[in-house]
């Protein structure tokens, strides 16, 4: 029972990070039709921004406050970088989808190389507040506290995004733009501002994921964003392109099933580490595409 609980909560924590990247990806694709392969870079920006700030905020003695302040600055940098990417690289390439893919893939590769060149390619340890690495016992399982933080933050981001989309004028514009961008413009609305805003929101969410990934993994590495991005893309497809709630559901399914499949077959059949967690996610993607091509939030095939 305790193993099941640990795997479930850890899977939810991992799913929380997938969701934080996937939410922005999904919004950007839904509104702009842009497959942003550079989205993992925004997570890396948040992760390194948080790590760098934390190690340079010597004046703040309390490590929890230092982490919080660093994470907030990392989020702001993530949002700013994302907005700049949209303004400088994506905006001149509207409607040119192949070029968008090429430029975002190129940016992703270049950014990872740049981070490696500046801070090295090896893992850098991340100083985590002690209460996060402490454990809480639930049903006999000792769960690291950071898992609850990751899940809690993802829920707050999910609710915040839903509120933003449902209750604000820009949310209305984004929802309408995802349906018919030209008609939004024909109502006298400068939809390009919404594009930049969506990129910035996606960048902030991914940077939050970066700040949390530092705690989850206990270190920063240059390719963290790109490695998590693959699963985030799978989450977006499974959840249904453009659906935030769908992405949240898919992130939970992917994160949890990945943990189960990484552990149970190995423990039950005494086999080596075959990477069954990752394989199961790909199989899950295939299954969903066969049964519900438009994803969990879409209609049946």
């Amino acid at each position: 029972m305790s193993t099941f609980v640990v795997l479930t909560v850890t899977g939810l924590g991992l799913g929380a990070m997938y969701f934080l990247i996937a939410s922005g990806l999904s919004l950007i694709y839904g509104l702009m039709g842009v497959l942003n392969f550079a989205h993992g870079f925004f997570l890396t920006v948040g992760a390194y921004g948080t790590w760098w700030m934390e190690s340079h905020l010597g004046g703040i003695g309390n490590i929890s406050i230092r982490y919080l302040v660093s994470a907030l600055i990392g989020m702001a940098i993530g949002g700013l970088v994302a907005a700049l990417v949209e303004l400088v690289l994506i905006r001149p390439l509207y409607q040119r989808h192949i070029e968008q893919v090429l430029v975002t893939v190129g940016l992703s590769l270049a950014a990872t190389a740049l981070v490696s060149a500046i801070w090295g390619g090896d893992e850098r340890p991340f100083v985590t507040p002690a209460w996060m690495t402490d454990t809480t016992t639930i049903f006999g399982a000792r769960i690291p506290n950071d898992r609850f933080l990751e899940i809690g933050v993802a829920i707050v981001v999910l609710l915040g995004l839903e509120l933003f989309l449902r209750r604000t004028r820009y949310g209305l514009i984004i929802r309408a733009g995802a349906e018919n961008r030209a008609m939004v413009t024909a109502l006298g609305i400068d939809v390009r501002k919404a594009f930049t805003l969506v990129f910035a929101i996606g960048g902030v969410a991914a940077a939050v994921g970066g700040a949390l990934s530092n705690v989850y993994f206990g270190q920063v590495v240059p390719d963290r964003g790109t490695s998590l991005l693959i699963f985030a893309f799978i989450v977006v497809v499974i959840g249904g392109l453009g659906s935030i709630t769908g992405s949240a559901m898919a992130a939970v399914v992917v994160g949890v099933s990945q943990q189960y499949m990484n552990y149970y077959p190995q423990a039950s059949w005494h086999i080596g580490n075959w990477g069954l967690g990752d394989i199961s996610v790909v199989l899950l993607l295939g299954l969903v595409l066969l049964i519900r091509p438009r994803g969990l939030s879409g209609s049946l095939a």
Binding site: A186, L187, G188, V191
Partner: protein, 242 residues
Amino acid sequence: MAVPAVATAPPLLELRDVHVYLGQSHVLQGVSFAVPEGGVTALLGRNGVGKTTTLRAVLGLTGRSGVIRYDGEEITSTPTHKIIRRSIGYVPEDRDVFAGLTVTENLRLAERDAEPRYDLVYDLFPELKTRGEQRAGTLSGGQQQMLAIGRALLNDNRLLLVDEPTKGLAPLLVTEVARTLERVAELHTVLLVEQNLGVVRALAGDAIVLDQGLVVHTSAARTLLADRDLVHRLLGVSGGSH
């Protein structure tokens, strides 16, 4: 190229030698006409001659060359949202309501003026108020058309571009939409694309006929519709059928 003007007053909208290419197709091949301020000007023609493309070209929803002037100022290189903000309303051919948004949200999205004219819209279309929380995608065709027109009336526009408002509607609804447009025309200048000649006869003061991407006829609407042979030749339908 001379602009065939249908009125002597300074035009509110003027197109000169407007060309539009859609892929390899040369859809508008030098369209020129003027729309006077006030009343309804009908833009007529057979299917596929470029009527909808002309309206989209005015708004910059499609790439175009030539000169387009609105209220005396050239808007050819102005982005769509800025053209609309100069007090132009647009009712597209296929309504293009946002299916996933509620009726109220569709209207809210269209708000531009500080005081949107909800009283006018709800007076013309009371159903839009009672169905406020209903998703627009679940409305009937007629209700969606009311929403599309209501969206354009919410702001105090000087010019309305209305594209086939009666298309696909039941005869009773056609009469209702025509009656509404008659009231609308008292408040706004309307450039109306319409296939139903009965509606054109009831509403339009001037008529412009397109054929194969060019203006081939301009006159008072009554003059055109009184000439059955001309109507048959230009529009391929009988002028006295409605």
